[in-house]
Amino acid sequence: MVDWNPQANEIFLQAAEIASANDRQAFVIRACGGCAALLEQVESLLAACGDLGSFLDRPAVDRRATPGTADYRPIAEGPGSIVGPYRLMEQIGEGGFGLVFVAEQLQPVRRKVALKIIKPGMDTREVIARFEAERQALALMDHPNIARVFDAGATESGRPYFVMELVRGIPIHEYCDTQQLATRSRLELFLTVCQAVQHAHTKGIIHRDLKPSNILVAPHDGAPVVKVIDFGVAKAIGQQLTEKTIYTRFTQMIGTPLYMSPEQAEINALDVDIRSDVYSLGVLLYELLTGVTPFDRQRFQKAAYEEIRRIIREEEPPKPSTRLSTLGETLARVSLQRNTQPEKLSALVRGDLDWIVMKALEKDRARRYETSSAFAADVRRYLAEEPIEARPPSVGYRMRKLMRRHRTPVIASSAFLLVLLLGLLGTGLGLVQARREAQRARLAQFEAEQQKQKAADEGKNAVREKNHALAAREGLRRALYAAQINLAQNAWKAENGPHTTAILQSVTPKPGETDLRGFEWRFLQGQFQREEQIVRIADRFVEPALSDDGAYVADVGLARDQNSPRALKVWKTANGSEVLNVSLSQSREDERMATLHRLPSMIGIDALQFSPDGTRLTHTNANRIAVFEIATGGEAFHYDLPAANPSASPFGVRTGPDMVVSPDGRRILRLVREGRFSRLSSKALLIDTESGNELRTIATTTLGRFRRDGGQIAYGDPKRGLVIEETDSGEVVFSVKDWSEGDFRNSELKPQFSPQGNRVLAFVLEGASPREAGALRLAIWDVATRARLSTVSPIELSAKAAWSPDGQRIALWTAGLQPGANLSLVNVQTGAEEQRILGSATVAAATFSPDGKQIVVACHDGTIRVWSCTPESPHVAEPRGRFEMLAGVSDDGRRAALTAMLTDAPLGGALPQIGAGPRPRRSGLFLIDASGRVLARTEEGGLGSVLDHAGQRVAFVRAVPGGNQLMLWDTATGNSRPCGELWRHAARVAPALAFSHDDTQIAIAMPLENGEVRKTVIQVCDAVSGRIMCTSEPIDTPLSFLAFNPDGKTVYASSFPTRDPSAPSSSVLLGLDVATGEIRTRFGPIALQAGVSLSDNGVFLAAAHNMVQPSGRGRAVVWNTRHGQVVNAFEFEHRFVSKVCLGPQGRDLLLMTHRRISGIAESQVLVFDVATGRERVSLSNQGQVVDATFSPDGARIATLVAEGAQGGPGEVVLWDAQTGRELLRLPAETIGEDLRFSPDGRRLFFSIRGARGRPARIQSWTAPSRPGTVED
């Protein structure tokens, strides 16, 4: 029974005009005002409207049926007519495209044939031309199971016809059913069909319209003979799934979309191959097994054209066995037709037959059987009880289920508003994204399947098999983990806190499982506001109210059933203790609604409001205002609406009660509506609470709001705009309408006074043009000056706002409707968003703490959460000089040293001179923090500088008269002092510098020149006293790499990386004994050094050679530093290596490689297992990899990828080091260098060189806590 409810109709019609689904939803919920029955009706109308398709759009009489349009005339030929050389006899069939007759061929031979005349709507010439094109191929077909096609032509009236071998058979499924063929016999018959189709395929003919009515079975000598008819016909007709073909010949055509492959359902189904027939055969087998097609016939009949196409291309049909289980009563008949019992049939089909059919029905044809003979072979294997080729896609199902779980739950039947609101969570992800997720997940699923397959295929050795199975399971878990993290990442980008948190929780390891979570998990988790406090109060909040100071929360729960009363409760937010519990009697309005919609009213129209001092709570419903003392729980007073004067509402739609009481309780404002629809008039009455007397009447259509002290009322008026008047005198003190009105009027405005009463905010709909639906904005005015201070835009339709106690900020959130759990803090003066809080639960109500430093939120999940809301004032770093260069970042990534050419006036002291340029240039050194704030500066600087690991001291070389001096700048004291000796004959080349791991020693590799002779000397100094520890003998090559062994006893040094094959001998790698200054080890030889890395434990040293000859392959070597022996050597296809990096404990070796293929740079990161020498993963990036590094635990690899040229935007990508699977992508504003994790794994950062007008800085991401310490 479908109701007719004018009110629901009106809301529906308005809603149907709103384009955005979110806005529409918001509108509907608002307009239904909490009436669940109404909401259900409107939702049902909207749903039906969405399903309409072309329903009724085409008249039952054909509008185009004007005389003379031959195309639409019915077929005039009938028995007796002569068509070409054929004489029509009886009509034997009516197919999708036309009528089929038995015809007598008169010449050259006398025989009976089948003649098919095509129905109206086809271009005859085209049809015949297409048939002619395939005639040759058709003639080549010679198969006992294929009906031959002899001829085609046009009738006298201009219709195309086809002449075929006459087959007097019945459709295969009917034959099977009437003969009660068992499944086995059906399969055997099906094999014959496959053979016939295969024959055609080998002749290059694709059928394109395989369906039971084209596969006939005729008894021949007592045995059934299958004949596939209509080969070549579909192609000639050029049949495609178009709107026209569906709607002009719907009932007859219906068979076709049901058997149509996804690629045929594409708009331009040009690319159709034999696998399309494989699909149709899959549908046929499905039907032979279950009696029904994969997609529901009825559903296709009703669905719109676009929808049918979508279903075919996107929807996964149920497995045959699943479909059987949903047949209900029909199953008995279906089983009988298969000469078996329902249980037996289901058991028979479940498993192998399911997988065989599903493989044929794969959306992606690459995953179907390649040919119909491959399809047949698998069926034959099944019949022979051999293992089949098709595989259960169990992982796929798991993935899909997983994804479904995180998508929108569709709740249709529930009458609960709240449930509905919660149901909306998740829709925001959007379809596109969902598809992308699905793609990624499918990829992961595919890989996981491969892993599983690999494991399944592996050997006969039981132990090996077990190990492989374990490894495969681990691989599977990792694949699932990566897919989940991808989902979480997308949810995070969509600002959907609850969704993200839920996904992150789902990958928490179960007991006994390894914890796969890493930086990416902690990072995503860290993106959401960390609650300072969570108090669980109720199962859920419906429409809670918070006291201004956040100390109390009140809510009216849902009634358990129709007869039980709803309870108004107040709790302390600090500990969740209940301080008030009142049973509410049903208001008359609630009853009216309940009667009207014959539904239990379990939610009502309530408004809750705390007094500003938080001592009293006002509950308002349609008839009564009741004020409760929170301390005593008693009712302070109540006011009942006069029974004789019920307040009529336009459609019975209510967004809240029509009464409001002033915060001081002295006055009541009541809206009275009279008339209906267009003749509606309304006014507000001001009532004295104590006496109940009406003090005055206000001409307004909306209910006003009182100022906190009750002295003024603000209300919205369609004509006058926002009006503020003195409560008692009615004197208008403010009236503005400085907005252009959108099509969608919103005169309610919902004004809210600031706590000081000097400002007022309101929600206005401003439209660009009168016809355009307006965008909702939040506008803030100064009451005294009537000037609009600021505007916040755009905001969601159901947005709510709360003033901060100082009136300087506004918290803005969207209750219930948004998938995300966002709360914005907006600056009142500027309207700018100062802070955006992503929470992990959806905000229902919010208020500031009295000091304004915290936000207390009541979430729909029944919790109270306290969030810190002191916005970090964003620091905009100014360039400190020209040519900024980062001189190093501390280990924790929080501090960086940089040098710059100073542009401002000297701070005093002598000018440090650098270089021999004509003008003295001053250089400065700065210590900055991660946000770019300058922590310390000195007007010194020079050639080369390095920051120590702790971020405390900077070593630099100053040019002084007579030579170079190594200096140490202590950033804490600001003092600089010399370290080691004065270097005479120093070359004006920056020396390499390095601090020891404990920052107690500093090594310098100073280039010296004496005439033409260039040497380099390594010196190690005590970084505290400046004393020289050792000095090496002069080394012939300049050095670029210096690193201390963690034990501080050895310094490793290497020459500059080079790509110049003309100087291969210049590369050295050596170890210097700090105690003696002797070169203890020489590693190598290295030709064309391409990078050096020392493992974190100091045991391994790695270097890569960019060697062109003789092998043409690159080579990397890992040595043991203790004895200088080669541990392993690695060869790789020749590429240029730009970085070598040893993982933790030297277990893994990472090589960053590049090559250029036809002008396109391609980067690949290769990871080798140092012990076995095997390549473990290779990470292929789109774009150029600029840097790559291991996480401290070795479980992750981070790469910095440039999207385009240097200086452009890029990304940091996080990978699973085990599997090479991508986990997280973080956008980087610009490309930098030196990508690193902090030693505790909490920060990931890289440094950005300065550029003109842009300061050097660190870009970093933080993943706050380790897994396990997050949930408490």
Partner: protein, 187 residues
């Protein structure tokens, strides 16, 4: 024989019972017109329903003296649409009888109205639900009759009923949605 113009003016004045007299007149006129047309056309041709209705209107109302032809237009077209509906339903029923083994009938003019072969069931289903819609919102039902049974274009139908384009859009959407719900509900 009552004068169509007179009936229409009665209806304008609020006497809705006059509609009962209008329908048979329009119905007869339509049949007569169709028969006349058919005698001039070649066999096997079809007649455009919309054209018939318009022609009937001109004959019955447009020529009436002393009155603006546009008065009572909505009532007339509503009646014409209702007549077309009945004609089509008769035909559809006849067709479905035929399908279930009934004999061939004499070639009547309804045969020549191009009811799409596959629309018979849909037509009958809509017909059944339409009476219920008419009880709730007669104008919505009239709109459906005009568009679905008489083959009027949307704009034409809106004008015939004296509706603004927007009002007709809304009414059409509501009518379609509601009927769709009803038909779905029955299944």
């Amino acid at each position: 024989m009552p004068d169509v113009t007179h009936i229409l003016s009665q209806m304008e004045a609020g006497d809705l019972s006059a509609a009962e007299q209008l329908l048979p007149l329009v119905y007869d006129e339509l049949r007569m017109l169709a028969a006349a047309r058919l005698s001039q056309e070649k066999p096997g041709q079809t007649i455009q329903a919309t054209a018939l209705v318009h022609e009937a209107y001109l004959r019955l109302v447009g020529a009436a003296s002393g009155r603006s032809p546009w008065n009572g237009r909505g009532h007339f077209f509503a009646a014409a649409a209702e007549a077309m509906r009945r004609i089509l339903v008769e035909r559809a029923r006849a067709r479905s009888r035929l399908k279930h083994g009934g004999g061939r009938q004499r070639c009547e003019f309804e045969e020549h109205l191009a009811v799409a072969e596959d629309r018979v069931e849909e037509l009958l289903a809509v017909h059944d639900a339409l009476d219920e819609l008419a009880r709730h919102d007669p104008q919505a039902a009239d709109l459906v009759k005009l568009r679905f049974f008489a083959g009027f274009e949307h704009q034409e139908a809106a004008e015939a009923l004296g509706l603004s384009r927007r009002a007709a859009d809304r009414l059409w959407r509501l009518a379609r949605t509601w009927l769709y719900q009803v038909l779905k509900d029955e299944k």
